[in-house]
């Protein structure tokens, strides 16, 4: 006879509440987004259907190549450029901060202290950290005061704020930590004796960096890059605030469509955004075999 009391509840059941949150707030929403992107809508409601109109509308005039680039391509191009520049600067800065922390700071206490120093600003919301640039960069801001008083320029510089420059500055300011943490993690795993062996065999600092440290940090670099790129791809708050609501972004388009209740249109945009983001990540993971490196 089957004794029900003999069936031990698996310890895996402990993950059930965690899994339920993801089913309800991750899987179902994503599936719904995909499904609703094929629905129809009017001013009041969304109508179940199976149409490609939402997608067609996004790419309207995109493939005629007669006049200017269409809005969608322009927006994606500008987002990709932001992605690339932000990725480049966060990578360089993040790499050297991690490099300093893991190789030049010897005591664990100092390592933790300096690491915390980099982390503490992330305890506040990113909007607050963004807004704090405004008094620095504005027309009467500190930077312009400095420029004018030292005679570097005669007129206040307008490009400092509400421009592509301020957007990138804010992104780098906000998200360099996303690079530091995984790269630092990879660097801490590097066996110091490998570096010593290379040094004893006559390798110079640059050779050690390019032949040992960078290859061994690849997983950290890729993970950090994935974080930075996905955050920039889906952003609309930073580009909105620091771009003075003048620079287009996909996130902003989705947000505006949501607020006008054009939900299927927003869903179609979201599907394309998600697809492109995953495509970029897929290409990046192809560059290294993550499973082999872990």
């Amino acid at each position: 006879m089957l004794n029900l009391f003999k069936i031990k509840p698996s310890i895996g059941l402990l993950s059930l509440p965690y899994a339920l949150v993801f089913i309800f707030f991750f899987f179902i929403p994503l599936i719904l987004t995909f499904v609703i992107s094929f629905w129809d809508y009017n001013e009041y409601s969304i109508i179940p259907d199976l149409i490609l109109e939402n997608y067609r509308y996004i790419f309207e005039n995109c493939f005629s190549f007669k006049d200017d680039m269409c809005v969608t391509f322009k927006t994606y191009l500008s987002t990709f450029i932001f992605c690339f520049i932000t990725w480049f600067f966060t990578l360089i800065i993040g790499f050297f901060v991690a490099y300093f922390l893991s190789f030049y700071v010897n005591s664990l206490t100092w390592q933790i202290a300096l690491f915390l120093l980099c982390t503490i600003p992330f305890w506040t919301s990113n909007v607050i950290r963004m807004i704090s640039w405004i008094p620095l960069l504005g027309r009467n801001g500190l930077v312009n005061d400095f420029f004018l008083s030292t005679g570097l320029t005669n007129t206040p510089q307008e490009w400092l704020l509400y421009s592509g420059f301020s957007v990138v500055l804010a992104f780098v300011h906000l998200y360099t930590l996303f690079m530091i943490v995984p790269i630092f993690n990879s660097m801490m795993r590097i066996d110091k004796s490998i570096i010593e062996a290379a040094y004893d065999s006559g390798a110079n600092g640059f050779q050690i960096l390019s032949n040992i440290i960078i290859p061994l940090c690849k997983p950290g670099i890729v993970i950090g890059s994935i974080f930075v790129i996905t955050v920039v791809m889906g952003d609309f708050i930073t580009i909105g605030i620091m771009g003075g609501q003048q620079i287009p972004s996909i996130g902003k388009i989705i947000y505006v469509e949501m607020s006008y209740l054009q939900l299927p249109a927003a869903a179609a945009n979201a599907v394309i955004l998600l697809f492109l983001t995953l495509l970029i990540i897929w290409i990046m993971t192809k560059m290294i075999d993550i499973r082999k490196e872990l």
Binding site: I11, F22, C118, L136, N140
Partner: protein, 186 residues
């Protein structure tokens, strides 16, 4: 190699200091400017030092009701914190052994960090809109008066808002628990 008298060491220290200045500088200027005198704005030099703006905030003179905003944030924050700790400690314990679906759950955790937040927010909004429609439909077909009279939306801070927050905090909670449990003896 990583000699402290090395030139590279000083370059690195200099670079790191610059980075820290870059991180904290803007926030510090905001802190300084908050002690601006009554006539000043968000610009230097300070028009006198005062706590005028804090008093103004305390009296509730600003456009936004800052008191209730703070209260809302703190309550939501505490709820999210408690749920994150409980759920991710439990899930972390479960992950110490392989279980049915553990791989899927792990990749879901990683995926939720990768999906752009606006996409997920839209998804959650869509979901709750459909739930609203469903509830209204039930209210009409079964003629439940309180639904027909009072129900407006299921979207809210403690339903969709809380859930959307959790999909962002839980992965971090779980990954931290992985790091913690890895140090335990098996």
């Amino acid at each position: 190699m990583f000699n402290k008298k090395n030139k590279t060491y000083y370059i690195c220290v200099f670079f790191f200091s610059l980075f820290v200045l870059f991180l904290y500088g803007p926030t510090l200027t905001i802190v300084l400017l908050s002690f601006q005198g009554p006539d000043g704005g968000l610009t230097f030099p300070l028009n006198g030092v005062s706590t005028f703006w804090f008093e103004e905030l305390w009296r509730g003179g600003s456009v936004v009701d800052i008191g209730s905003a703070f209260k809302r944030s703190i309550i939501l924050g505490i709820i999210v914190m408690i749920l994150t700790v409980i759920l991710s400690v439990a899930a972390g314990l479960a992950f110490r052994k392989k279980f049915w679906g553990s791989n899927v759950l792990f990749f879901t955790t990683v995926a939720s960090l990768i999906v752009p937040s606006i996409v997920l927010s839209l998804g959650v909004a869509l979901q709750f809109r459909l739930i609203d429609d469903l509830i209204k439909w039930i209210g009409i077909t079964l003629d439940i008066s309180w639904i027909n009279d009072f129900f407006q939306t299921s979207l809210g801070m403690y339903s969709s808002g809380l859930g959307a927050q959790l999909t962002w905090t839980l992965p971090f909670g779980l990954l931290i628990m992985f790091a913690v449990f890895n140090r335990f003896d098996k």
